[in-house]
Symmetry: C2
């Protein structure tokens, strides 16, 4: 069976464009393009057969199928030659059971999808392996591309830096854009949804909570679930919550109004730097996703996101401030009983805490501007005297005993 | 079949001690203890059957066996109840084929075991999940332990922080020591060797290169290979290279002398902070391991380790300076033809580069004391003018074209 996929306009303008073409926007309306798959071809395999195939490949050693992205190759970019795939075995990150944290929150079936446990420390690896591999395929096919470029404050550039291949230098110069308007990345990012379900032995959770800035990620997760639903792997869809920083909350504002209108804002500085976006490029498709998934949008203040991240760290996590936004939003939804105690909830953690070690330290030192750290865990400085250290530990243990009893 | 393991003296003094006992050193000679397994019991299963069991569990969802450590539970700590295991699904980290870097080095079958792609960003997770789980089991069995403590500059403490459980506060205070003299951690760390072989579909590589400071890790890797050999999973052993920083090189010095004597030194400050150790606690068992594995010791200067890490980063890696030490040592061994071009080499990368982002930035800014960065990749500051940016990229592409042609 030959699978196929192509670009088409997200608004349904006519025209199909090859994924090998250097094209980012619809030539008719100027809006974004999205990757469309040939579902008739994909249906030649049953839902059960797809699950079996994905399970057989899961984390195995046959390149590139052990990768969480490329293990679903037919659903991502079917035409690419395996020798052109640039992979760091991305994906298949741990779905961590947040045992202790969930108990505190009274949501005991709480799971954190640890997308940051990866080569470059964020979920961006998932999309970038697809984009860079397609570029390598294009170059192999003779398309003249000199460089791959993106504008970013962090995670995206780090992921691109790791995946970019030595450029084949050609006569005509071309720079291929890797920013999130490029829909190839969505195809990699959507595998997070498939992985989550696969890691629950093909059960769909009740909720997925995900931080949102440029909003490509929520669309990607939605696409993953819809594709599984369409192809018979799952029979229902989860609800989705997008969590925004209060200082960069245009989607939250629009949600308050039933998505009747959307107005870009000027985002204010937030600790959750990667989602400090006032005019998200993927807003249209994100709203469609939320409408399809009976979704909600919640927000978190700087104080709330910082405190929530520290609370989570105290139970053994170590995630980025965007995950803090998601957890703070989760807490509000639980308090308001939008999310119920018996429901299975997955929080998508988008990056590793190591990317924000300085911010975490500043929180506990009380050095974050405008934040009064409610869950401060200050370092205790002691002279190198064993007896003094022992005494300090004893005091600490005594305090912990009082807290427990 | 009931499997069993216990502590015994590394020098063979009589006495077996329960792993549940709070004991770190041999009561007779004061030297270290090591975990010994009941090999007769383990032999009740054939080598082929062990491989099948480990493969069946590999990265699957049945807690805790999807963890790289606990998937080998019978070989690690067999007696522990699964409900007392504190796991973040550690291990099974990517064995990255260092395609581009290996070509530069003329060792094309070169692989990096990415132990830093993990919950706390270093290989220490592997040992700490074992230690903390044993402590939880001890507490469940009524042993009074108030706290788990370790002294460390970084990775070890981070891993402990994530795994430590809420303490059951009891009357008699006890603090359980988690430093590397505690041999329970070795049992987790040795699974790296098993994973590497498993990831090569049960083929043994020719070389394992590993950075060495306190030297528990080389001993652990050796133990993993020996156990596989003893139980019929593999028929041969790799050679092992321990890589030391020149400024903390007591094992290298001892190796020059055929290990006839070992003299502790005062370690000098090195960029490879985690191996800045002059008097390694595991030196005796590390030397035994190297003698058994036809091992070598190589060293790297500050200049060499910093340049080598930058070279590797340029090909898409992003590892710690200790990995830089290992790669620099590898280069020397290749140059001296100790390691041959056709051999399969695995470098154990002990931590994620994100833990050393500041150091990496300082290298490229030329701000590392005493280092002249030979592989500097300086940021280019430009005004926010599209034409100037385009021109700068064009210049860069032109330079790259000249380099390639």
């Amino acid at each position: 069976m030959s699978y196929n996929a192509w670009f088409q306009c997200i608004n349904g303008c006519p025209g199909q464009f090859s994924l090998r073409e250097v094209i980012y926007r619809c030539p008719s309306c100027g809006d974004l393009l999205e990757v469309q798959h040939d579902f008739d071809a994909l249906r030649s395999r049953s839902g059960a057969a797809w699950m079996q195939l994905f399970d057989d490949r899961y984390r195995r050693n046959t390149y590139p199928y052990g990768s969480g992205v490329w293990g679903k190759k037919e659903w991502v970019v079917p035409f690419i030659d395996n020798e052109n795939i640039v992979s760091t075995y991305e994906g298949n990150s741990n779905l961590l059971w947040a045992d202790r944290y969930g108990k505190q929150l009274h949501v005991e079936d709480l799971w954190i999808k640890q997308c940051g446990n990866s080569h470059t420390g964020s979920f961006k690896d998932l999309g970038m392996t697809v984009l860079v591999s397609v570029v390598k395929q294009m170059m192999a096919d003779g398309v003249p591309i000199d460089a791959v470029a993106c504008a970013s404050t962090g995670d995206t550039s780090a992921a691109l830096g790791a995946y970019s291949v030595v450029q084949e230098i050609t006569e005509e110069r071309r720079i291929y854009l890797a920013n999130s308007m490029n829909s190839l990345r969505i195809e990699g990012q959507k595998t997070v949804a498939i992985e989550i379900v696969q890691q629950f032995d093909w059960e769909v959770p009740d909720w997925v909570v995900i931080p949102g800035g440029n909003l490509g990620n929520v669309h990607a997760v939605g696409q993953g679930f819809l594709m599984m639903h369409e192809l018979g792997l799952v029979q229902r869809l989860p609800r989705i919550c997008v969590a925004q920083a209060e200082r960069a909350n245009p989607l939250y504002r629009s949600f308050q109004d039933g998505f009747k209108r959307f107005e870009p804002i000027t985002a204010q500085p937030t600790l959750a730097t990667a989602i400090q976006i006032g005019n998200p490029v993927s807003v249209k498709r994100a709203i469609r996703t939320l409408q399809r998934f009976n979704g909600v949008v919640e927000q978190a203040s700087e104080q709330e996101l910082a405190d929530e991240a520290a609370r989570a760290d105290r139970t053994g996590m170590f995630n980025c401030p965007h995950t803090g936004v998601a957890l703070a939003a989760l807490r509000k939804l639980v308090d308001r009983k939008v999310i119920r105690s018996h429901e299975r909830v997955v929080v998508v953690s988008t990056a590793h805490g190591l990317k924000f070690a300085d911010q975490k330290a500043a929180y506990h030192l009380g050095a974050l501007d405008g934040i009064r750290p409610a869950h401060r865990n200050q370092p205790v400085e002691l002279p190198p005297e064993p007896r003094q250290v022992a005494r300090a530990i004893a005091r600490h243990v005594e305090r912990a005993r009082l807290l427990v009893s």
